[in-house]
Every structure is written in C-alpha cells, then in structure tokens.
Symmetry: D2
Subunit: 327 residues, 4 copies
Amino acid sequence: MDFNILRVARVVMNVTDLNNSRDFYVNALGFIETESDDQHIYLRGLEEHCHHCLVLKKAVKPGVHSIGYKVWHEDDLEKIESLFKKKTLHTEWEEAGAQKALGRTLKATDPDGIPLEFFARMETVERCLQKYDLYKGARMQRIDHVNCMVPDVGKTVAFYNDELGFRCSEYTATADDSIWGAWLHRKPSVHDVAFMNGEGPRLHHIGFWLSDPLSLIHACDVLASMGHADCIERGPGRHGISNAFFLYIRDPDGNRIELYNGDYLTCDPDFEPVKWDINDPRRQTFWGHKAPDSWFSEATEFIDSASGQPVIQSKAVLAQQKPDFVT
Amino acid sequence: MDFNILRVARVVMNVTDLNNSRDFYVNALGFIETESDDQHIYLRGLEEHCHHCLVLKKAVKPGVHSIGYKVWHEDDLEKIESLFKKKTLHTEWEEAGAQKALGRTLKATDPDGIPLEFFARMETVERCLQKYDLYKGARMQRIDHVNCMVPDVGKTVAFYNDELGFRCSEYTATADDSIWGAWLHRKPSVHDVAFMNGEGPRLHHIGFWLSDPLSLIHACDVLASMGHADCIERGPGRHGISNAFFLYIRDPDGNRIELYNGDYLTCDPDFEPVKWDINDPRRQTFWGHKAPDSWFSEATEFIDSASGQPVIQSKAVLAQQKPDFVT
Amino acid sequence: MDFNILRVARVVMNVTDLNNSRDFYVNALGFIETESDDQHIYLRGLEEHCHHCLVLKKAVKPGVHSIGYKVWHEDDLEKIESLFKKKTLHTEWEEAGAQKALGRTLKATDPDGIPLEFFARMETVERCLQKYDLYKGARMQRIDHVNCMVPDVGKTVAFYNDELGFRCSEYTATADDSIWGAWLHRKPSVHDVAFMNGEGPRLHHIGFWLSDPLSLIHACDVLASMGHADCIERGPGRHGISNAFFLYIRDPDGNRIELYNGDYLTCDPDFEPVKWDINDPRRQTFWGHKAPDSWFSEATEFIDSASGQPVIQSKAVLAQQKPDFVT
Amino acid sequence: MDFNILRVARVVMNVTDLNNSRDFYVNALGFIETESDDQHIYLRGLEEHCHHCLVLKKAVKPGVHSIGYKVWHEDDLEKIESLFKKKTLHTEWEEAGAQKALGRTLKATDPDGIPLEFFARMETVERCLQKYDLYKGARMQRIDHVNCMVPDVGKTVAFYNDELGFRCSEYTATADDSIWGAWLHRKPSVHDVAFMNGEGPRLHHIGFWLSDPLSLIHACDVLASMGHADCIERGPGRHGISNAFFLYIRDPDGNRIELYNGDYLTCDPDFEPVKWDINDPRRQTFWGHKAPDSWFSEATEFIDSASGQPVIQSKAVLAQQKPDFVT
C-alpha cells in the first residue's frame, strides 16, 4: 500500500455517568484529564503528547463510536479513502475541529461494520511522563491496542493485512487450522488491534501500556481500596500470547480495559507469526489460569454514526467460542 | 509463661520422589540445598543461617512429621515439657544429633494431635543473602509461618495463646461470632502459625517470605516455563488478612506452599486483633478473587511419630467450611 | 534486665517552616498527617496504628528533642528509671497527655547525653495500610531505626547492650579492631538504633521502612519532579551492612532521612554479629559506590530539654572518621 | 529517502579474554550465548529471534569493528550503497555467510569514519522470552541503541537525519544553541543511535533493553556478588533525557554497556524534539546525580576494516566537553 498507518490512537465511547467514570479512569487508573465539558471527558496517558487517547461521551447506554488510527501524513487520508471506496465501504470526511482537538478526519466503516477514523493531526499538549508527582493508581502510560470480536477472523485479518498493511505477530488456531484470533500491528509492538472469533463486531477491550509490573499490582490494590474490587474480571497474569503481564477490568459501564506491560519488539519482517493452539492452557495465561466465561461472551457494541443505532452483528463462523477448558 | 518460643523454625515432611522435589524446591523456588542423602533433602532460604527450615523425607506417601519451633534458651525446653506434662500431653526427648543438625529436642503433641518439636539449637551455616548470583526462581528467603486446619479453632487458639504465649494479630469470625480462623505470632509478624476451621489436624500450608512482589511474579513465570503451571492453585493476589502479596502452589506431592511478602510489624501489645467476617469478599483476597474449593478441602495429614500412622482427625465443630461465595 | 524495650517508636525534632516540611514529608514522602497545629505536625507511616512516629516542631533552627522507645508494660518504666538513677543519669517523669497522644513518659538522658523517652502507651489511630488510594510518593510505611554519631561507639554499645538489652546484628571495625560502628536491635530487624564514630552525640538519620524497592525508585522520581532533587544525598544503593536497599535524603532543614527496605530477621540468639572492615568498599554500599563526605560529617544536634540548649558534643575517640576511599 | 533502515541490530567488538567476557555477559548480565568458537562469542537478548546482537571477538586490545543496522528489504542495500557512493564514502560488499549468520552485507564508512554494516537478513534462532527458567542476572532482553562520540554532532546528525532517515527525539544544546548531543531513532523508541560531542569517532556505549527496573537493581546485586562491583560506573538512575532507568557498567575490557528500561513511543511525526540545556542538572540524571568524569572522557575506538588500524580521531568542535557541574 502507498499509505502509512502509524498506530491505534484513540477510542470514543459512551459512559452513562461522567463523574463515576472520572473517579474510575482518573482517580483509580491515573489517566490525565486533558479537558472536559458536561458531555465529554478527554483522557490521555502519562507519556502522551496527543490531546487524548480516550473520549468518554455521556449517553444513556454503552456503545463505541469509533476506533481512531493516526497516519503519517495528511495525504495518506485520501489514499485510504480510495481504498475504502474501491471496496464500496462507507467513507465520510470531517473538517479539522469538527471533533475536539482533531485534525481533518476520514471516517470509514470496515468490512465488519466497525466505525474507524483516520487522521494525521491531533492537538498536542504537555507530556506528563516526568511529572511523577501526578502519578496515581495504575499510572496509565499510553494507549497500546484495541481488541475486537468479529464473526470471521480470517476474513477480517485478510483485509487489515492485505489492504491496510498490518502485520500479524501471533495468532490462535483451532484444531482444523482455522484462525480463531489474530494479533496485528503497525507500530512494532505485538499489536495495535487484535481480532477474536465471536458474535460481532464488538469492542472486546482497550489495552493501555503501563511502565512496569508493580504499577499493575498497585492498580489492583487501589481499585480494591476504592471499593472497585468487583471490576477486576481477569488477572493479574502473564499472557502466553504477547508475553505481556496483564489485568482486565470493567469500567462502571462494563467496558473492558486491559492494563498491559511487557511485550516485545516486532519490527523485523523475518519474524514469523507465532501460532498457538486455542486449547493450549498457556496461550491465554501462561501460568494456566482460566479466563472466566464472561471474558468470552461480553463485549461492547459499536454505534453507527449515521443512524445512531447499534451496528448489526453476525454470528461467529467458527463453532468454538472459547478454549475447551473454560466452562 | 516463663519460657520464650522465638518462632516457627522448620517442618519435616514426606515426599515420594526426592529428585522431583529437588527440581521443584531448588530449581523452581530457589531454596538453598544445605545437604542431602538418599533419604532426605535439607533446604533453607537465602537469608537463613540455620542449617534448614524444611526437611523433605523420602516416603511412599505424603505426611507431615513435625512442626518445629525454636526457643530462646535450652532451659525453656524443660519448662515447655512441664506444661505439656501438666496437660497430660505426650512428650519425648531426643538428644542433640539424633536428627541432622538439630540440638537437644523436645517432641510434644499438642491438644489437636499435631506433632511439635522444640529446640534451642540448630547448626548454623553460611547465610546466602548477599550471594545474589545464587538467586533462582522465587528466591525463597526464609520460613515465615505454617497454617493448620483444626476442628475447633477457638480451643486451639486458647491453648497456643494462654499456654504457649502466642498472640493473635487477625482472626475470622462467623455470623455468630465463632472463631473460624486465627493468625498467631511469636516473632512480630502477622503469624508464625494460623489455624483454620476444618477436619483436622492437617497441615494446610507452609508460608515462606520473599524479598519483594516481583520475585513472586517471576516465580509464576519460572514455574510455567518448567512445565509446572498446574501447581499454581491460587493467586497471585493480595490478602485482606495480613496484607501480604501471596501465591499458593502445590508441590509434586500436593503439599501446599505459600509465597508471601508484605505484612507488617506486630510487636506492640496495644495492637488489637483485626476481626474479619468470613463472608467478606476482601478478607481472603483483597481484590475480591475467590479461592478455589480445593484450597478449603485439601491439606496434608500429620504422622504420629510413635505409631508411624496418620494422626486421627476429627470433624470441624463449625458448620461453615468456607466463605459463602466459594462454590 | 527485667524490663522489655520493644522498639524505637518516635523522634521529636525541629523544623523551621511547617509548610515546607509538610510538602516534603506528606506530599513527597507519603507520610500520613495524623494531626497538626500551628506549632507541630504529627506524622505516621502507612501501616502504623500509633498516633505518630515523627513530630515536627516549629523552631528557629534544627535540633532533635528526643528519641522515643516503646516498652512492653507500664511497669517497665520504673525499672528503666532505676537503672538510669543507679548510673546517676538524669531522669524525669511526664504524666500522660503532657505530650500529644503520649502516655506516661520517662525522660532520661543516656551516657552520651542523648535525650531519650520511654513510654508504654501512645494513642492509637486507624492503620492506613490497606487504604492504597492514599499512597503517595515514597509510601513511607513505618519507622525502622535511628542512627546516631557518638564519640566512643564501644562505650555506647556496652551501655545499650549490657544495660538496656539491645543486641548487635552487625558492626564495623577499624584495622586495630576498635568498633567504628554498631547496629543494635530490640525488635528482630537489623536495628532499632545504630551508632557510628564521630563528634557527638548527634542524630545522623532516621530510617523508615518501605514496602518494596520500586517505591524507593519512585520516591526519587517524585522528589525530582517536585524540584527536590537536591535533597538526594546518597543512593539509591544496596547496603553491605543490613542488606537493605536504601536512599538518603535531606529534609528542607538538612535533617537526614533514610528510605530503607530489605533487611532480615534477627530473632535467633545464635546469630553471630557480622563484622565488616571499615575500608571494605562493599560495606556501606554493596555495589562499591562511595558515600559523599557530607554523609560522614553532617548530622543534627540534640537539644537538652532542661536548658533548651544544644547538648554538648565531644570529639570522636577513633581517628578514622570515614573509610579510606572517601575523600 | 527510498530505503528503510529498521533498527540498530548488532555490534562487533574486541575483547581480550573470551572466558572473562563470557562470565560477564552470560553469567552476570544474562545474555543467551547462541554460539561460540575459540575466536568469537555470539550473544543475543532473551527476546531476540536473531542469531545475535553482539559479537565478541578475541583480540589483543579493545576496538569496535562495526555497528550493524538491519534494513527492511534486500533492495534497500543497493539504495544505501548509492547514497554512500554519491557522498564518496567507502562501501564494500560481503556475501551471505562471509560473517557467521549474516546475510548479504553492505559495509560502509560514515562521514565520521564509523564502520557501519547494513543487512536485511540474519539467521533466526529460538526466542527465549518465555523460557523464564533461563533468566539470569540482568536479564538482558534486546539491543536498544548505540551511543557514539563524534567531533561535530551537528554535522553527524545532518547526515543521519537527512540522508539516512533518522529522526531526532531529544537533544542537548550549549548556551549558544550548538548541538552537544542528539538522540536519533528509526524504530519508534527514543533512539537507535545517539551522538555526543567529543574526540571521535568512538563508541561510547551499547544500550540494552531490560524488561523492568528491578532487573536492573538485581544486576547491581549480582555484579557485586560476583566480585564485579568495580564495573559499575554510573547509576542506577533515571535519565532526564529519554526518561529511562539506567545503569552504566564497564566490561572486563572497559567497553561501556548501558542497562536501559522505560523510555516512550516516538512514532508520531508531530512529536517535537525535546531540547535540554547541557548544564541542566536533571538532563543526564533526573535526580541530579553527577556522572563521573570518566563517563565523559573514556570510550572505545573503532577499527578500520581495511587497515586493521584504529580509525583516526578528531578533536571536538565544541569546547564544552561536559556539563559545568561535572569536575
């Protein structure tokens, strides 16, 4: 391809109570609140110089408005538009400033119906990485990746890799070698986006990078101290896939957040994707811990920007919804 | 009382295969192997100057021979003997050297039938705390405590506190204020011994102190790398009781070992025991994680030294075997 | 002896600006401010249930009013009084409440002129160990020890060990086997008090226990972020003596504070004191780092409670003020 | 430019005793020894799937043979050759296999005389990231960057940025705004290569990524335990520049190695280079620690591959050799 997607850069999603969400994201997780109004909170991680990586939007029920990717150059946007048009996928332009802090933006719907945004510019703000006196809770450092459930992972991966230039670092296969899940990256980490087999499209989780494993342990302690122990869904643990030390939590609206630290550099083209068997107990959690059933079944729906209605979902093509040892 | 028990100092227990156990305790957990022969392995933690804190004894099936306490002075042994005799509890002397590295030893059976040993002397060896190039796996640093299941915790606690001079740091009570579990100490940590309600007497686990929380995370990684992921039974997590960061693992014979770090100083007599409700989800794991059922039901039997037969067990007096949220 | 000193429990010292000190101790170091008025700030560590372990007293210049030790029982106070009287050392009683939160107190002057306090009771308050949302900066957990410069360490150690029942865990000797420094404990850690050869008596530093090594690294980051980088005098490093991971900082008035984590259990009477050569480069810092000259020469004077004047100091009896490699 | 340099990928350097070096790099630092013969040791980090990132070559005295960069595609090599030829800089081809494990290689000399290598292929081997039972010492995870002293940093940076496509993340300027040092990257970390003002060209150090800060602390402990405390030259500390937690050590031949963890993602083109004043005490070490003079004056010379003689060095154009507070 002749364009350059840099990385996943932001997610816009609904929350039902801004103050509850602020308490969770800012006080417990340690995000920096760049700005807010009575309808939005704009959050960024400690190292981020971009205005935000997460927009919380007040709404009556949960839903994800878009996954945003940052591109290298303004001209990349037209090239991406051409691609989506050629595939007869919906596209739409927004001028700079139409959304807070955002430059000219191409909105586009991927083949699964996931609402995407591409942009080259976002307002920059002060990086707080060395303002250690502001560090709180989980010390969220930056957005790392998103993970989506889609009905046909093989097909989705073909689009992202062949058309958008993503590369696969690791993947999960079923007994008959069908792709059950795939971890795809543009920046040279294990992933910017992962796709897993399931009714979808749905956003499974957003992953944020932490500086070290003890910040993650401290996050558990802080969440419990604040009365949020119930939000811990899975972990802490070590992933087989990606090698990251992880924790999955659910925000006050049930949106799933991953705290993530410790994958590896993936820039070499001779790095062969790592294949895992879906029923390998060390795949999900290297230490053998089983994920709870909710982790496989629950996710947040996307919202169609034109209609404001939920994006229509399809059943998964693979019969196996989860590893055979998860009951 | 007129004697001074210093601390829990050793456990002697059966294993069925010394080489399997060596791989687990020395290579994965990082114990120092002080000495061994074809029937025993003597292990100590990195900071310990005593010859050992754990004796693994080759046998056809699991079983615990004794829990050993170190006392301040040789004369304390006679005073403890008097106490046990007055209570018509079994006592017996072993001369110095009758057991490897051990000084003159009083063997005594507590009211629950738990075989105890008291001694003032054990051979000293080199402390390896600053031989960091020997650190491996979990970097086990020292024995911290034992935990036993007994049928009537209230009665057992009365004996240990009133007769032996232990003090309670924290305890768990049922709805009607019966003591379900109690954490008792002589050294000023949260415990040297804990007792929990259950069919018994049985040894629930031995807890070892680690220098820091990341050693515990590394232990999980090393155990999984060596193919021992199955041995991880519960955790990592933070205890509500004791505040310690913990991991429970099972050795190749099913004996339960706790990796433990981060409790607090308990030497002040005005420190009131902390009371927890057995059904408080933050009691066992501050983060709300549920312990598995096996953690409540499985433990290792004690062996009567005279008969070589298992110590007879009794049913628990309290009906509640575990928190109501554990199924 | 027939009394039982439990542990070092508090220090009362002057600061010249309460707000500057609050910023340093509360915001940067993470102490809990139990209470304050326009002349005092009362601080405690996160795990402490005692009202305070450090009293900052507004004054025109630095100075230490007393080092306080907690004893097991009220009756111990009379026994300690007898000892000091027998030695013709100054003693004086204060009724409960004469000082904020303090029970009946025996004030006594040790042979070096150090003003001591002994008490069995201090008001208890809520322990914040599991209020992780309150954790800040260095996350100071509890008072661990004090370190004083005295002119004749050998003589001082004899008094503390033979008369007060302290035990030596480690010591430093010069080429001719004179004791240059000694680490003495009542609670079973490496020390409650250390004495080092130097013009004195002076308070060299107060050491506080941290839960883990990364809290100490974070403390450096926070101090630097707040503009207090200049306060870092020595470390982070690993002590040869005690094995602790340490950092020495100077408060806004120059009082020296040690952040300390990772020593070992010392309750066994058969543990022989560890001897170090003063010129062994691994003694002070196991990694070979040299302490700065200020660390050997600067300390805070004590204040005589009767006169309100500085306690008279004497020259050190040993010629060697510092290791030969420190210039 | 029309070629794509991926990252710094290897360094080839002399050592005088392979066994001493093995003890240092493999046993103390935890590199994986991929292969060796009586003239070479080939080392890689725990996550690396490439055959090696460091070649130690037996020789009578220290010297660096080359800095190797990996490129995206074989065709990139010809394009890089053209560039160097156009600048009348020396180039030379080596066929695949001429050096152990290396594909077809373009050797080229940069304007400062630094011997470079470019290659698209290196034999791949097993990644040991999840073989935690092999982790030792510093747990070196991957090569991160090199740092070179050159006489005119501004000129060197112009070549690397304008001709080779590197981008500057941070830089140091003197009072008159001359560039004293610059941190340049291809992979989206703070740097693949840094250049500092000094007599040169010389290799100042090679930096390796660690998974977490405690591995670095453990490295200090292990080095000291093995009798290598003298090798610790600077740190541990936090860099102002890059924000990394760092340690500088010297190998048995004086080659400088940096242990490095904790910088940030630099893939966004709108990230403006961070400017630091050379005399800002927080620039080098955020905590204000001063680097020793040796750190500014000592470095390893490069060896000209044709002549086998040291590459000729020039005096630095800027008068200021080091911050004004370093004496």
